[in-house]
């Protein structure tokens, strides 16, 4: 149905846009092992995105590429967190910590969806994001407890990304109506609050006390960096409309 497709679209956009950001890191990571690790995570997310977008598109006779390359900014429904710039490695890790724990909680629950396709995608994705959680937790710890500079940068990264946490867990009327098919975002907040602040504190860092941003990603409202991201992502596909690659 259209409502299920829109739900899948949101999940697909989240994964796609974060994968796009991680793709920017490749060949620029602080060490080769991280080129591999960030590439792996990006690839996993891209895989999730493709599954969700293909499923969403099946309701509208659109391909994953129609959706990824030929929608404009207000039609993208990813949460704003995922489009935020990479910043330094600590910023990226802060975004990864929030994102991975969110995905982990979400996919864990979505595995029980009454929609078998969503359940199957989530089951596969859940295994992969568990590794992503590990990766980010280890780095938050290393950077939080490493040197003065890494501590300062890690805290700055958390502070910069924290305003975008709230949006992930806001109630969404479009999801309410889906019943057992979808996971109500507000029900995931507990798991996030049990995990992430503990990691932060154990790493010698402070849970940021900052006001949440207004958000609106699921409704197509994005931060100013997003238009630039899309310009780059879509440039070639749009130069050759209708072409096959």
């Amino acid at each position: 149905s259209d409502a299920v497709a829109r739900y899948a679209l949101g999940l697909g956009d989240d994964a796609l846009i974060l994968a796009q950001r991680l793709g920017e890191w490749i060949a620029h990571a602080p060490e080769l092992e991280e080129d591999v690790a960030l590439g792996n995570i990006g690839l996993d997310l891209l895989g999730h995105a493709r599954s969700f977008l293909t499923y969403a598109g099946s309701a509208w006779e659109k391909s994953e590429d129609d959706l990824a390359y030929f929608r404009d900014e207000p039609e993208f429904t990813n949460h704003q967190l995922f489009e935020r710039p990479n910043g330094d490695f600590a910023h990226t890790i802060a975004r990864q910590l929030i994102a991975s724990v969110y995905f982990d909680a979400l996919y864990g629950r979505l595995t029980a969806s009454s929609d078998p396709t969503l359940a199957a995608i989530a089951a596969k994705a859940a295994k992969e994001v568990a590794y992503h959680v590990d990766h980010s937790v280890q780095w938050v710890r290393r950077l939080g407890l490493g040197t003065d500079e890494s501590h300062r940068r890690m805290q700055a990264g958390l502070d910069a990304l924290w305003p975008f946490v709230d949006e992930l867990f806001r109630p969404d009327a479009a999801i309410e109506v889906l019943g057992d098919v979808a996971v109500r975002p507000e029900t995931l907040r507990d798991e996030f609050d049990r995990t992430v602040p503990a990691v932060i504190v154990e790493s010698g860092l402070a849970v940021p006390a900052v006001a949440p941003a207004a958000g609106g990603g699921r409704a197509g409202v994005h931060t100013e960096v997003f238009g630039h991201l899309l310009a780059e992502m879509q440039v070639l596909a749009r130069q050759h409309p209708g072409a096959t690659w």
């Binding site: 620029h28 330094d88 780059e232 596909a237 690659w245």
Partner: protein, 315 residues
């Protein structure tokens, strides 16, 4: 000496030399140079393709490209490990790369202005690499030979993907076809030069062949490559930019034109399209990441100390 005899026996009988075996200093040095150059090439080689990850024109291609560039980082790590068995540290090799004292394959000093270059790199550059590397799987030095077995498998996968990119373009719109042909025009000669200078001008080759590090001469490998390319180009429908290519019944090989080695030496001397940019990018990544590596070291040291304290307390 008995060790020397043993080494010579290993070479003669096509057995593998292992890290714990005695080996001549020159053999060790040659291998270190070759393996680390190979590793550096994988690392620098991430850049020309990394340039298109954010702009790949379909999600499938984006995934394949990300996986490929990541494979290259993996190959680099794998090869650094092989070189380390010869008694050089990864940091030392990496410093040589960043300071410009070590070389990497000159081919990666060319740029990728169009998406079709993702196809040409796969088909031509990885293709040439495979011709070079398949014989290396039988290299006399064990760890290198074994590394090459794994790498060759992945490279031939990459080459097929590159071929497929070009094939899709050649079956696409006229613009896509032009893009593919233009890209092949740019990459063809540099790919042929990847095998190194003509045999007459390649002084070190002889010894490497005697040591069974290298199994075929530069010109032999180049011929093998051209023989492979011509029928594939026909399938693709692209024209190889050399009017002198024709089948030589007598030789059982394709004849091909003389290459412009002046350009090769220009690029080798640092005057290519991207020499300085490639190294500068790698240095920037290294410098920007210094605080991360330092933090990781400090954290590890702290963890070790904690563990010692814990053990002491238990004791």
């Amino acid at each position: 000496t008995p060790e020397q005899l043993e080494f010579e026996r290993l070479i003669e009988t096509d057995s593998r030399v292992e890290p714990t075996d005695w080996m001549p200093e020159a053999y060790r040095k040659t291998l270190i140079r070759q393996i680390s150059q190979h590793a550096h090439s994988e690392i620098i080689g991430m850049q020309p393709e990394g340039n298109w990850i954010t702009r790949a024109p379909s999600l499938k291609r984006k995934a394949i490209l990300m996986a490929k560039v990541q494979d290259e980082a993996g190959h680099g790590l794998y090869l650094y490990s092989a070189a380390q068995t010869l008694g050089i540290s990864r940091d030392a090799m990496y410093d040589q790369l960043l300071s410009g004292t070590a070389k990497y394959s000159s081919i990666f000093n060319y740029t990728t202005p169009t998406w079709a270059d993702m196809g040409s790199i796969g088909w031509l550059v990885d293709g040439a690499a495979i011709c070079n590397q398949v014989p290396l799987c039988r290299c006399s030095y064990g760890p290198y030979g074994r590394a090459m077995v794994r790498i060759c498998k992945e490279e031939s996968f990459h080459q097929r993907q590159g071929f497929e990119i070009l094939l899709t373009l050649m079956r696409g719109t006229p613009e896509q076809q032009r893009m593919a042909q233009e890209s092949v025009n740019r990459w063809y000669a540099p790919a042929l030069m990847m095998f190194g200078p003509p045999d007459g001008e390649s002084p070190n080759s002889q010894r490497s062949m005697a040591w069974k590090i290298k199994r075929f001469s530069n010109d032999e490998l180049r011929q093998r490559f051209v023989d492979m390319l011509v029928p594939q180009a026909e399938v693709l429908g692209v024209t190889l930019p050399d009017p002198d290519i024709r089948w030589n019944e007598e030789r059982g090989h394709y004849d091909f034109g003389v290459l412009d080695w002046d350009e090769f030496y220009e690029v080798l001397a640092g005057r290519g399209q991207a020499n300085t940019v490639r190294l500068a990018n790698r240095r920037a990544a290294h410098d920007d990441g210094a605080w991360v590596r330092e933090a990781a070291r400090a954290y590890a040291a702290r963890e070790d100390a904690d563990r010692s304290t814990l053990l002491e307390r238990i004791a």
